[in-house]
């Protein structure tokens, strides 16, 4: 069915080589994706959330036929990804790897015309479609400049435009707002919403939870190759039950966080450092009752509390609850 994705038990094992000296190498298997099953419905914006290295891009590469799965199968727009790979490619618009994937010595218009040719548009249709995309993305002023002279944001916009050349019913966008400034990211999200209003199904990967929360109807949380949760955003938040989230800022030694973790009503804690300030996120079954005990335990363990704020459950909290880590912390660790 057009605008849909069904994936069943998709797994991908990469073989990597660990170099040992000049010629020796040790082979290692890396499970990039482990038995991921999901469905994307027609006309929805489906968020794929997870830190860098979680397996989002591997999943997208399998769905767009760039990679073969080690096991499992998937249908995209009703076409089998291995048996009808050309039909899958023809009916998917994909933005991968951001500003890479463009010819930097060519102009924006020349890039778009070339990519239109790869989708078998006639010479007249290539020019027409390129003009439409340039107008849609407001690239008119820079359309005839070499891409190498573009800012990062302009390159990202053009890469997004490239995903639109075949006017596909399903758009797969891999972190499209990376490197965009706040107004440009907001502009791009508005275009994504408009395209969705026109009936396009959109799979949107991001590691920015707030972005997913505002844009996506349903989301899947993926981490270390495993699908941890799938559902509507409110549904996922509600899945935390009556848990309350309390954020504590200040000077918080690790042993204090450890002591809090030992409290019976505390379900999960995460200690992170943001702008030189420690931030302890505590999920507990009953926030109000826990708070005095929390303060007492932290003080007894040498913590200096600067700010305590009870907060509404966010997708970030859902991620913490499912993985035990914050997304920012995980993204930093993976990018090292």
């Amino acid at each position: 069915m057009i605008g849909t994705v069904q994936a069943a038990d998709l797994s991908k094992v990469y073989q990597t080589k660990q170099r040992k000296g000049l010629f020796k190498a040790e082979r290692r298997d890396v499970d990039a994706l482990q038995e991921v099953s999901l469905e994307v419905n027609q006309g929805e914006i489906f968020g794929l959330l997870g830190p860098n290295g979680a397996g989002k891009t591997t999943l997208i590469k399998i769905l767009t036929t760039l990679l073969l799965p080690s096991s499992g199968e998937a249908f995209v727009n009703g076409h089998h990804i291995e048996k009808n790979s050309n039909d899958v490619r023809a009916t998917v618009g994909c933005m991968l790897m951001g500003e890479r994937g463009l010819y930097w010595k060519l102009t924006a218009r020349e890039n778009l015309v070339y990519f239109c040719a790869l989708y078998h548009l006639s010479p007249q249709a290539r020019v027409r479609r390129s003009d439409e995309i340039i107008e849609l993305l407001n690239l008119g002023d820079i359309a005839d400049r070499s891409v190498e002279t573009f800012s990062s944001g302009q390159k990202m916009k053009l890469a997004f435009g490239k995903a639109l050349v075949n006017d596909a019913p399903l758009l797969i966008l891999d972190e499209p707002t990376n490197t965009l400034d706040v107004p440009s990211a907001s502009e791009l999200r508005a275009i994504v919403r408009d395209l969705n209003d026109q009936g396009k199904t959109i799979i949107y990967t991001t590691h920015i939870m707030a972005e997913a929360e505002t844009l996506c109807g349903r989301v899947a949380i993926i981490d270390r190759g495993r699908l941890l949760a799938v559902g509507d955003v409110p549904e996922l938040k509600a899945s935390l039950g009556r848990d309350q989230v309390t954020r504590i800022e200040g000077v918080i030694p690790a042993k204090a966080a450890e002591a809090v973790r030992g409290l019976s009503m505390v379900r999960q804690t995460t200690l992170s450092a943001e702008n030189g300030v420690n931030c302890l996120t505590v999920m507990s079954s009953n926030g109000k009752d826990t708070l005095p005990k929390l303060i007492e335990t932290l003080s007894a363990s040498g913590a200096v509390i600067q700010k305590i704020s009870p907060e509404e459950v966010t997708l970030e909290d859902v991620f913490i609850a499912k993985t035990g880590r914050t997304l920012a912390e995980d993204t930093r660790a993976n990018s090292r």
């Binding site: 767009t64 036929t65 760039l66 050309n86 039909d87 490619r89 023809a90 998917v92 994909c94 991968l96 790897m97 890479r100 994937g101 463009l102 010819y103 930097w104 010595k105 060519l106 020349e110 015309v113 070339y114 990519f115 040719a117 790869l118 989708y119 078998h120 006639s122 010479p123 070499s146 490239k162």
Partner: protein, 183 residues
């Protein structure tokens, strides 16, 4: 897919777009174009000048006795141009694959529902056009610099032989490109 006229037309159009895009890209590197013209002349000049230095006035006669033509300058320039063409065929295709891999455009190419063979043919066509242009310019420029008449002898016959030889040459070069991609 059955090769109907419409499919063939589409594939040829993709091939031409692929070649055109690369020629446009090349046009943005004028220094590279100049190098394409100069390299065959430099390659030919070394044995030509060496031959003149060692054989003196008898260079043309000795050369004619061995090869059938006394125009050793044109002979060497054609030879170096053919050498450049062979070298370019491998470099353009193998380097193209590697370069597209590194810049990320290869994935963009793989995302499209187009035949990779026809895109690769476009790259072959681009390389052939680039090599033939550089060969012609180098030949006339080299003849002028080294002071010989470029229009003597069986020039057209040499050109036909080179073009016929280009077909298997690009086949082998594409195979080489596939090996680069694999390893």
């Amino acid at each position: 897919m059955r090769m109907t006229t419409a499919v063939l037309r589409t594939n040829v159009s993709t091939m031409l777009a692929s070649a055109r895009m690369r020629l446009l890209n090349l046009a943005r590197y004028p220094g590279q174009l100049v190098m394409d013209f100069i390299i065959p002349i430099v390659l030919a000049s070394m044995p030509i000048l060496l031959g003149r230095a060692t054989a003196g006035d008898q260079a043309a006669a000795v050369f004619e006795a061995n090869t059938g033509t006394g125009n050793y300058v044109a002979y060497m320039i054609i030879g170096s141009s053919v050498f450049s063409m062979v070298s370019y065929a491998f470099w353009h295709i193998a380097y193209w694959v590697r370069w597209e891999m590194e810049t990320g455009t290869l994935e963009a190419l793989y995302l499209a529902p187009t035949s990779r063979l026809w895109v690769a043919s476009g790259v072959g066509l681009y390389s052939l056009v680039r090599s033939v242009i550089s060969m012609i310019v180098s030949y006339f420029l080299g003849s002028w610099i080294l002071g010989v008449n470029p229009l003597q002898g069986e020039l057209m016959l040499a050109f036909v032989f080179i073009l016929v030889g280009a077909v298997p040459l690009y086949g082998v070069a594409l195979l080489f490109g596939a090996l680069v991609l694999k390893f």
